[in-house]
Subunit: 346 residues, 2 copies
């Protein structure tokens, strides 16, 4: 990477994740430069992005605008950090808009992490536009994007043969920020859980995408993909500081996905996110030669890791081949513009 | 990857690793096709490569030749699997020869994994030739290539900031094949160890390269790099089946590398390979946000994993941008043409 030229970044979407990515971009000033910020929230429009972020961030001299077209046209970003929604349906136009402005896009949209099965037409369009414009469009985050797809794929990298991959992620939601606790339904009743589930957008978004990315990376054609979403109930009362969860109430989710070939569950993803979990951890077991038994003690802390993956993917897309890409197409993600670099450069 | 076209592979070097990679290529027949084999050993030349490998491998209809030029010219391989020596000095000409024949090269040469510091001129030449010919030249293996460089780099991929990376690999050499036990000096005296060490080619080859690849991937300019190589002594007698090691004799090596910035040991690689070790494991600790504490229980079994990395890198180089590349430049390594795929294709 050419560390002499600072990449121009526009932050598209200033929800909690977008604010955190913008803050990280500001912290890496020099390697990347925040040149624009887009959000439609009237409470944010017109304010300096640093003021929206809070946390004592110094004035960024970047005003939040609700006119994406204008920001993209005037600021000519190298990369757009896109954090508006989990679902592909609402954002294809936004992604096309960024690419048409000549910008690479790194997006937190979970369904974009491996969009080919759920949205083949949108995938074709995004790939075509990206190639036309010579830019990369990629979806990433900690999960999907790392913990249950890219990482297990990398775990198989040393194997001469693989017969199965089994991934488990347990997140003690008590340690996480409030939106995650709300997202997993901590404190609601079982009835409310079933109602939310019937709504179709509850649960972890992107589990299916992780399974499909893993299968595709291994060259496996799965015959069936099953998903199951169940509540985890609190055994004892839990007070997270944000929420009070009574014994018997929903503590969170147990969401699993299974990919089968010849009836056998060769790929399994098991995700448990609930308040009061004894320990957080990430685990990948590969049945193969050699067998792999990998564990992240304490887990991969998602609030920070999602932001890390989004920002760290910026330099990777900036030098990748144009088109719609997944984390399986890009070089190994790694941190960049960290403190020792910045201090060393002074 | 286009799984319809089988990649034509030439195996260059038929020592233990080369025989194992050739065997793996034969096992993945369909996705890859072994079209040639090169070795200078008169005991191997002229025989079918399957006969050299043994292990009940079926006749491959590929005869071992000592005429590399002729094999490359007549077989026109897409990729050469190159496994002749650990050191760059002797192999630059071989690598150039393969590239000039229009073949990508995946090599087990440890010093090739990150050759820029040790051999800047050879690196320039290899990069120029590879770009001229539109091919990729890359060095890989389990270590260097994965356990102490690519993997820790990937561990930082979720971090918004990193203050240090500490990698530990403990290998119980009793579980490994005889050449590894010999390589680490199991059963020799302390005096013999010091003599071998003074020879300059003893110890693990590539530790410095791993440290430099990790630093480069993070964009860190290390001020100093220190290496230390010490013997591990056997507390009690060890019989590995291959070697008898008496108490007090050398059981293996403890090889470490430290990269400092502003005097601080920010990158440390600690490698212990000795017979009689209680447990094998690989561990990566990242001081950062979030902190990472990753462990491969039972370790990454190197005899197989080196072969896995070499063969799994074949499809990656075949679609990468031309030039001299490292594992930090290529997409995330993953297994390919595994049994479920092969069975599914039947």
């Amino acid at each position: 990477m050419d560390t002499n030229s600072s990449l121009r970044i526009v932050q598209y979407g200033l929800g909690p994740i977008g604010q955190a990515t913008a803050e990280t971009v500001l912290a890496k000033s020099g390697a990347v430069t925040l040149v624009g910020a887009i959000d439609i929230d009237p409470d944010k429009v017109g304010r300096d992005v640093a003021d929206v972020i809070g946390n004592g961030v110094s004035d960024a001299n970047v005003r939040v605008s609700d006119d994406a077209e204008e920001v993209l046209a005037t600021q000519r970003p190298d990369v757009v950090l896109h954090t508006t929604t989990s679902f592909l349906g609402g954002v294809t136009d936004q992604l096309v808009q960024c690419a048409r402005a000549g910008a690479h896009v790194v997006s937190s949209t979970e369904e974009l992490s491996f969009p080919y099965e759920r949205a083949p037409e949108a995938s074709d369009e995004l790939d075509r536009v990206a190639q036309d414009e010579g830019v990369v469009i990629a979806g990433t985050g900690v999960n999907p994007g790392y913990a249950m797809d890219t990482l297990p794929l990398m775990a198989t990298g040393v194997c001469t043969d693989v017969q199965g991959v089994h991934v488990k992620r347990v997140v003690n939601a008590s340690e996480r920020r409030h939106p995650l606790q709300e997202k997993v339904g901590a404190g609601i009743t079982t009835e409310a859980f079933e109602e939310k589930k019937a709504g179709g957008t509850f649960g972890h978004i992107g589990l299916r995408e992780s399974l499909l990315m893993l299968a595709d990376g291994l060259g496996w054609s799965l015959e069936t993909v099953e998903e199951e979403l169940r509540p985890v109930h609190a055994d004892t009362p839990v007070d997270t500081g944000f929420r009070q969860v009574d014994a018997g109430d929903v503590a969170g989710i147990h969401h699993s996905a299974t990919g089968r070939m010849q009836g056998e569950p060769l790929l399994t993803l098991d995700l448990q996110m609930y308040v009061g979990a004894e320990a957080s951890y990430d685990e990948v077991k590969v049945e193969g030669a050699p067998p792999i038994d990998l564990r992240f003690q304490g887990g991969i802390f998602g609030d920070t890791a999602t932001v890390g993956m989004l920002v760290n993917t910026v330099p990777l897309v900036a030098r990748a081949q144009p088109g719609l890409q997944t984390m399986a197409d890009l070089p190994v993600p790694r941190a960049f513009a960290t403190k020792p670099l910045v201090e060393g450069a002074l």
